[in-house]
């Protein structure tokens, strides 16, 4: 499970602990053994999990993934959809925006705090210079920042109780997602190759010779970066 996802789960659990009567549902798309990642979220305290696992979904790019997740979420009709900041592998930080667009729901990203009341979400959105306060009517999509909370560790009782919680593994067909909407067929991009970024040839190494700070400052002034 991505670290960012645990921030989102923690945020959801805190909302549930404050509000009481609600349910935290984990949704993911992946191979069958991804259920073990979802188990961690169940062990933290989520109520149930739904995993879309289908060979037809393998190779989905963001468009295919969005089609699948939007279908599950349309089925679940949650009041609030929480995402982590970004995945740990591709670091895209766009899936939440694409899913919100597909669902035609408002989206707020980089949430460093989150309150729900009177049918709306109030979020502090972290910016470069401080934060914005943004409100959105529910239902909406919120991507939390990694600074919103410190995710709890699952307790041993939580870990052992997790396997008894409802865990559904569903197929594309059961969601009404056509074969042309997911997997490589439903994707609009194709990865041709992956390479390391080219080495930067124009870097300068400024050694600590007593005047290094002055030389760094002169360089920054020259580039108008001060």
């Amino acid at each position: 499970m991505n670290q960012g996802d645990t921030n989102a789960i923690e945020a959801a659990l805190r909302l549930k602990e404050a509000a009481g009567d609600c349910e935290v549902v984990l949704v993911s798309m992946g191979p069958d053994d991804a259920i073990n990642s979802l188990r961690k979220g169940l062990a933290m305290g989520a109520d149930r999990a739904t995993l879309v696992s289908d060979t037809g979904a393998a190779g989905s790019d963001i468009v295919g993934t969005t089609n699948v997740l939007a279908a599950v979420l349309t089925h679940e009709t949650p009041d609030l959809i929480l995402f982590g900041q970004q995945s740990a592998d591709s670091d895209g930080a766009v899936l939440w925006a694409a899913v919100a667009d597909r669902l035609r729901q408002p989206v707020i990203s980089q949430a460093t705090s989150l309150d729900l009341s009177e049918g709306k979400a109030t979020v502090k959105r972290q910016t470069e210079y401080g934060y914005d306060v943004i409100e959105a009517p529910l239902p909406c999509v919120i991507a939390v920042s990694d600074g919103i909370n410190e995710p709890r560790y699952p307790s041993l009782k939580g870990i052992m109780g997790a396997k008894k919680k409802p865990q559904a593994i569903v197929t594309l067909e059961s969601l009404g997602v056509g074969a042309e909407q997911a997997g490589t067929a439903g994707s609009r991009t194709e990865v041709k190759s992956l390479n390391d970024p080219p080495a930067r040839g124009d870097s300068q190494l400024i050694e600590g010779d007593g005047e290094a700070a002055a030389r760094v400052l002169a360089f920054l002034n020259e580039k108008k970066l001060t």
Binding site: R39, K40, A43, Y153, P154, L156, K157, I159, M160
Partner: protein, 382 residues
């Protein structure tokens, strides 16, 4: 045959490892240097149910199996043996005897607070002049009306003197049967008049754990504090030690893995003669040998835990696991420190602490020699 751990076991490992690395690792050196008992960490362990892991849920524990317990102790010790032994002694030696031999009333009085980790428990067997030779024990308990009058002393006892210690279960001579000492187990609550704990003992390792001498001087506890049958103390503590050896084996495994991981990381960073020392065959072979032996140790330890979970005879497996992991961890910390070179001798490098923490794993809960004795007897040798 299936040697895979369950997804729950894997999640327990990743959770405890994450906790140990992020919450204990950063303070382990300071706790060791100050010989300070880690109350904050113990409170967090309680929140994670790690202080009552194998205790049934109806008594306030997490209801986990022995394999889960071994994994948790292994992962804690991989980072800090003081925390590992605090959990192992509290669970296997402090709480387990009460669970195994206690009455319903004793269960209700002690288990919930111990299994939830609000209080800690200790087991007092060793005396200043009697370790595994329990027949030489001198602490006596005399039934006087409706109470036991206890006199004597205990040595090297873990968890007896913390601010949150609840009780110690001691072995005491309660009479004589056929010319032999009759030994019984008795629960002594902390705070009982006549029961005193010494200042913390100064130790080579396990410095953040609580180790004390205990004295009993006309210490009076109610007759109902007898744990199990009168005269069954010897059989009972042998049974307790059989189970305890699994947790000490898990500590040896964790210590060896921790030392290996430190050496592996250092060998890939440290440059000599123009390349990382991990490129040299002498280092590679040392790490290859350790990795191989650690897997053997893991197999022995988990098998002993699994046998216990299956309700099968596990005394031989536990003694073998304890002996093997004790000696392996000694080789592991020695090799790992050697790979660190001069830096390994410096306090700020964790390997120096692991080196000091290791030795007692070959002594506590039965020395290597006693393990060989137990194993030989289990093999049917006269």
């Amino acid at each position: 045959m299936n040697l895979d751990l369950s997804p729950e076991h894997e999640l327990i490992r990743s959770t405890v490892r994450d906790f140990a690395e992020s919450r204990i690792g950063p303070v382990a050196e300071e706790l060791d240097r100050e010989s300070r008992f880690p109350y904050e960490i113990v409170a967090e362990l309680a929140d994670l149910d790690l202080l009552g892991l194998p205790i049934p849920e109806e008594h306030g524990g997490a209801g986990g199996d022995t394999v889960s317990y071994a994994i948790a102790v292994e992962e804690l010790t991989r980072v800090d043996a003081s925390v590992g032994v605090t959990v192992a002694a509290h669970t296997s030696l402090g709480t387990m005897p009460i669970l195994a031999f206690g009455t319903e009333d004793q269960h209700a009085e002690w288990l919930p607070q111990l299994a939830r980790g609000e209080r800690l428990a200790a087991f007092g067997l060793t005396e200043p002049e009697a370790g595994s030779d329990a027949g030489a024990a001198r602490t006596t308990a005399t039934l006087d009306g409706d109470s036991w009058l206890i006199n004597g002393s205990k040595m090297f006892i873990t968890n007896a003197g913390t601010d949150i210690s609840a009780c110690v279960t001691i072995t005491a001579v309660t009479g004589e049967v056929g010319g032999q000492s009759e030994i019984s187990n008795i629960i002594v609550p902390n705070g009982t008049p006549g029961y005193e704990v010494s200042p913390p003992l100064k130790k080579m390792g396990w410095r953040a754990s609580d180790t004390r001498g205990l004295t009993f001087e006309n210490c009076r506890v109610p007759a109902r504090n007898l744990l199990g049958e009168r005269g069954r103390g010897l059989a009972q503590f042998l049974e307790v030690l059989d189970g305890g050896r699994i947790s000490i084996a898990a500590m040896g495994l964790g210590a060896a893995q921790g030392a290996y991981d430190l050496a592996f990381g250092y060998a890939r960073e440290r440059q000599a003669f123009g390349r990382p020392i991990s490129g040299f065959q002498s280092i590679q072979f040392a790490l290859a040998d350790l990795a191989t032996e650690i897997e053997a140790a893991r197999g022995l330890t988990y098998r002993a835990a699994w046998l216990k979970d299956e309700g099968r005879e596990f005394a031989l497996a536990a003694a073998q696991a304890k002996l093997y992991t004790g000696e392996l961890s000694n080789r592991a910390v020695n090799t790992a420190l050697q790979i660190h070179g001069g830096y390994g001798f410096m306090d700020e490098y964790p390997i120096s602490r692991l080196y000091r923490d290791q030795k007692v794993l070959e002594i506590g809960e039965g020395t290597n020699e006693i393990q060989r004795l137990v194993i030989a007897r289990q093999l049917g040798l006269p």
